[in-house]
């Protein structure tokens, strides 16, 4: 299982021109954490974050998470340090804790909800519209952060195609 996870991670790193964790112990621990989360939730959520077990709410932290690109850009590593920049891969000493970018409101909302939001039978995956910049995303829940203008999830509304 852990070998499969390693392949998954290394393939993804390769495809996105990232490098994997240069600290061998940390790398093993993170892979094991991903395997554990895959087993308990059914998807590989971030090992260094508390998942809720509700996929709609955890969607943004399924590895590779939606915060990875911004974090590698700014800090040279993702929040866990599983994916790093070329510079950090060559100088492992630069691996260090970075601030959490994910808004805590998502976990709190998930913990309060206790169950998945219900989609009516036959209903399609909803489209969400960022009220700030107009960005549209089709997914079960609103994105935690607008990838275009960085507005938070609560600025998204369900978008209706009806012209009425």
């Amino acid at each position: 299982m852990s070998e499969k996870m390693r392949e998954y991670v290394e393939k993804d790193a390769d495809e996105n021109s990232y490098y994997v964790c240069p600290d061998p112990d940390l790398y093993e621990d993170l892979l094991e954490g991903l395997v554990e989360n895959q087993e308990r939730y059914g998807y590989p959520s971030c090992p260094c974050r508390q998942a809720s077990g509700l996929k709609t709410y955890d969607a943004d932290i399924i590895c590779p998470c939606e915060y990875r690109d911004a974090d590698v850009d700014e800090f040279g590593m993702c929040y866990c340090g599983l994916f790093v920049s070329e510079e950090v891969s060559e100088e492992p000493d630069k691996l260090e804790p970075i601030p959490e970018r994910r808004p805590p409101e998502i976990l709190e909302a998930a913990m309060d909800a206790e169950e998945e939001p219900e989609l009516e039978e036959g209903e399609d995956i909803p489209v969400w519209r960022c009220k700030v910049c107009g960005y549209l995303a089709a997914r079960e829940g609103p994105p935690p952060i607008c990838p275009i203008c960085k507005a938070k999830a609560d600025r998204f509304e369900r978008f209706n195609f009806s012209t009425g």
Binding site: D25, L26, D29, L30, E32, G33, L34, E36, N37, P47, C48, R49, Q50, A51, C80, G81, E96, P97, I98, P99, E100, P104, L107, E108, M111, E114
Partner: protein
């Protein structure tokens, strides 16, 4: 493994509480550092709590660290270290 447990150590000068996740690599590093320093502490593996305990502990964690991130180390109920900041942890516990 218990979700909340006391980890024995010879150094007991401070009351140390660690909020961790069992799957998190940086939390593991923190546990190892505390073990190497022989510090006694209370370890909370947040992901292993049941859902009622989680809600209770979330409030406690939030008071100290509103971003709800791990590891969070609380020393004597007032000094809060967020993340595996090795030097800060050593200073808080050895100083």
């Amino acid at each position: 493994m218990d979700a909340i447990k006391k980890v024995e150590g010879d150094k007991k000068d401070h009351e140390v509480k660690l909020f961790a996740l069992s799957t998190c690599g940086w939390c593991k590093k923190t546990k190892k550092l505390l073990a190497d320093m022989d510090v006694e502490y209370e370890c909370i593996d947040f992901d292993k709590l049941d859902s009622d305990e989680k809600k209770e502990m979330r409030e406690e964690l939030k008071e100290h660290n509103p971003s709800l991130s791990f590891p969070t180390i609380i020393v004597d109920d007032d000094c809060v270290i967020i993340g595996f900041k090795k030097d800060e942890i050593k200073e808080a516990l050895e100083g």
